[in-house]
Amino acid sequence: MSERKTIDFFINGEPAVAYDGETVIQAARRAGVDIPHFCWHPELSVPGNCRICMVEVEQEKGDPWFDIGCNMPVTAGMRVLTESETVKKLRRDTMQFITLNHPVDCGICSKSGECTLQDYHYEHNGRPSLSIDRKNHATKFYPLSDRIMLDNERCIMCTRCVRFTHEVSQSKALAAVHRGDQALIRPAEDANFNTDAYSDNVIDICPVGALLSRKDLSNARVWYTESTPSVCPGCARGCTIDIWHRKASWKFTALDPQLNTRIERVTPRETPEVNGPWICNKARDLSALLERPRAMEALVAGRPVPTPEAVVQAAALLAGAQRPLVLVSSWASNEELAAFQSAFGERLGRSLTAVVKADHQPQPGEVEEDAILIVADKNPNTRGAMALFPAWDGTIPPATDLVVVWGEGGMAAALPAGLPVIRMSGYAASDNAEAAVFLPLSIQIERDGSYTNIDGVVNSFRGYLTKAPAVLHAIDLFPSLAAAQPPVLTGRAS
């Protein structure tokens, strides 16, 4: 750890250590003591408005004092109590206020099941409202942006969303307008929240169901789904994510089976040295990237064939080529790359050249790069691939007699006409039928693996889908592809 000065104090009678400058809530968190909080967030400024993090501080002489723990600097010898009777009462009172005007929407609210307010209600209050008066009404279904829906009645004015846009995404797109219990979250009137590439993070950090994804609204109750850790392949930042999908135990038996396998939503998985707790909207829209039409069959000269037959054909082509060029996928996992290198080890650098291509380029309308997370290289494992092979300069050496295109990109238009091509990729494309042999490959969510991001950090992903039988895992394919012996030279002219 660093050389920061430490302070000794006590939480609930137990000794604890804080760094100089830390607040009670920060030090408590590291000590494993969870002080409830709505408005506090470790990555954002401290507004101290929800008041649920009130703690008790014992005095040597006199009565204890009470204040919010999120703005309370730790002092030496301080004796903090987080579970005293008074603190519990303060939390109950705060929960009474928080739920005073909050609509009982749980039955129709998408946040239900992962809602901090729900959890705290049961944990810290659990009693009916003391009010018999009507609740305030406000806008429901307010379109905060094309992507995000705002329900002002559910909002508890914690201002996490406002602070996020001012401090993290820098779009400064959200504001808290009006006063008192008429105050509302609203977008800046020049409506630039649509252009905030990080807008959907406010959905995660909203502690209630006030901010919801419009496209994911009412897709599935959160308890019907589970998440699998993954890495976003949208760019070389490699943000770690959770991909949510339906639990097997809750699978539909009579509806479209795709509902059981589709991506329900994507949320950030916190990795301090990569993306912190944030991801950009491209990650949110991963279903658009990963669930494109798949290549489901092997093809030989455009004709569907059983996969083993295509593999044999491809292996023969490779064995017979004098100077094959492999355009290595920058979407390949480290494990696939290692398998490739191992399988073709003998020929690499001698009769077989492998270079790394950029499978994807930035698309029009996409943010190319910024100072936050987004990187210009739209491929997740360029660095992993470049650790083994050099970059492709875009040209085909004149002596090349076979091109193997691994992954997307390497479009036929860029290759000399008449050159035989073996293509292997997960996705359907018109070029697939033009290839001499086409082999369908599995995609990221069908296997385990890892990518190395732009800074050299290795992040792992897990698969949660079973690939179709006709589809190949590259790791299994490569030994077969490399195993074929070159044809024995006969006297005949070729």
Partner: protein, 464 residues
């Protein structure tokens, strides 16, 4: 400027000259000895710390309501930290019942300004601010003119009177918000933002305006500074009491016969002030209770006022505070339930909305009181009001929430039976009117005749 002899209700620092059409001008102020304090400091090369020492020695307590020792607040600022320091005059007088700062701004703007200049000198400030509420038109114009006169006379700007001390003053108008009278909200407003108060730490004297050390003082507090400097702390302390030195500008209104601004020497008998100097109650009625220092202070009944003197310790001992000096006299027969409803409407309207207990609690209290006043009260409503008030006590970012709680619970503590009656019977124990003498009685009666069943022209159909 010498301390005048006893006149009327004790010795006076401010109300000691006849108010005329130009008694507020620079020439008139100078004629009364104005700016001698500033000249004394600049010409004798008095050190900034010595100015603060004098103010501390005077024992003067802040006149904005919190009664914090002014010298102690100044003393916290580290003069040689290399940071800009700002002094801000809080002229956002919004506490209901209070209009004494208005008198000072309209009639002795130069005295307030001289105090601000002296404070800036003591705190090594290069810029000072006067935050004046947006509704104050005449006070704003008078202060604006005073500032221009001061610049023209070399009392502001670069190198004041050849001393090397320079000061620019910004006169900043508010735009309609009671909570901007809270110091941190005021500074947020001065930064051109909405007036949301801030949690402490850090204190404003460490990180205030634009995160720089800032001292916020009430108008009256600053207006006292020229006297303290010109005459010295000891002479100042000869006026008032040991713990409450000096005078208090009192604004009195309500059912009193002679409402207005009075300057009262601390230690003066409260009853004497009400019944003699202010002429007692309208229509010869008995006094029911008094709101001592703005609606954020707890009411004191006529009984509780017996023997109480106008000073901080005495008021505290009686269970209330001097507060902002905004005294409201309430006559026998006034419906305290309706009064509580008016007070709570105010707090609800002014809540900034930031923190949970106040944002939700103010509206809740208003709804409960509104229901009671409309004859739909329930027995548990009284406990609710106590609950909401207690839950706002010490749990909020600023004291708006606490104050609403104190105001309502003090009324409940004193006049619970009126609430119980209203709840049980669906109407006021008294006739429901809030006036003793109403110049518009006839119009009100006609309005009620035209709107049978309606409660009041000032209440919308149900609390908003």
């Amino acid at each position: 400027m010498t301390l005048p002899a006893q006149v009327g209700t004790g010795r006076k620092f401010f109300m000691n000259f006849p108010v005329t059409a130009d008694s507020h001008t620079l020439a008139a102020y100078r004629g009364r000895g104005g700016y001698q304090a500033l000249a004394k400091v600049l010409s004798t090369g008095m050190a900034p710390t010595d100015v603060t020492k004098e103010v501390t020695a005077s024992g003067i307590l802040g006149h904005g309501g919190a009664a914090f020792p002014a010298g102690r607040k100044w003393g916290v600022v580290k003069l040689d930290d290399g940071e800009p320091h700002y002094v801000c005059m809080n002229a956002d007088e919004g506490e209901p019942g209070t209009f004494k700062d208005r008198w000072l701004l309209e009639h002795v703007p130069h005295m307030c300004l001289e105090g601000l200049i002296l404070a800036s000198y003591a705190l090594k400030g290069r810029h000072a601010f006067i935050y004046i509420r947006g509704e104050f038109d005449l006070p704003w114009r008078r202060m604006r003119d005073a500032i221009e006169e001061a610049y023209a006379a070399g009392l502001l700007g670069e190198n004041i009177q050849g001393s090397g001390f320079s000061l620019d003053v910004v006169l900043y108008r508010g735009a309609g918000s009671y909570v901007c009278g809270e110091a941190s909200a005021m500074l947020a407003s001065l930064e051109g933002k909405k007036g949301w108060p801030r949690n402490r730490p850090p204190r404003l004297t460490v990180k205030g305006l634009y995160q720089r050390p800032t001292v916020v003082n009430n108008v009256e507090t600053l207006a006292n500074v020229p006297i303290i400097i010109a005459e010295g702390a000891e002479a100042f302390r000869k006026v008032g009491t040991a713990k409450s030195p000096g005078t208090q500008m009192i604004s009195i209104s309500g059912h009193i016969a002679r409402p207005g601004v009075y300057e009262v020497e601390y230690g003066y008998s409260w009853e004497r002030f009400l019944y003699e100097d202010c002429g007692g109650m309208q229509g010869g009625k008995a006094l029911k209770c008094v709101i001592p220092g703005g609606v954020s202070t707890k009411i004191l009944s006529a009984e509780e006022l017996k023997g109480v003197t106008l000073d901080h310790n005495s008021a505290l001992a009686a269970g209330s505070q001097v507060g902002s000096g905004g005294m409201i006299a309430i006559a026998e027969g006034t419906c305290m339930v309706r009064l509580a409803r008016v007070i709570q409407r105010f707090y609800h309207h002014e809540s900034c909305g930031q923190c949970t207990p106040c944002r939700e609690g103010m509206g809740w209290m208003e709804r409960v009181l509104d229901r009671i006043v409309r004859g739909q009260g329930r027995p548990e409503d009284i406990d609710r009001l106590y609950h909401i008030s207690t839950a706002n006590d010490g749990t909020t970012i600023c004291s708006l929430g606490d104050s609403a709680g104190y105001a309502v619970t003090a009324i409940l503590d004193h006049y619970r039976e009126e609430f119980e009656y209203y709840i049980a019977n669906g109407r006021s124990m008294h006739d429901g009117t809030l006036t003793v003498t109403d110049p518009f009685a006839e119009s009100l009666a006609r309005w009620h005749a035209a709107h049978p069943g309606a409660l009041s022209p000032t209440l919308a159909a149900g609390a908003h």
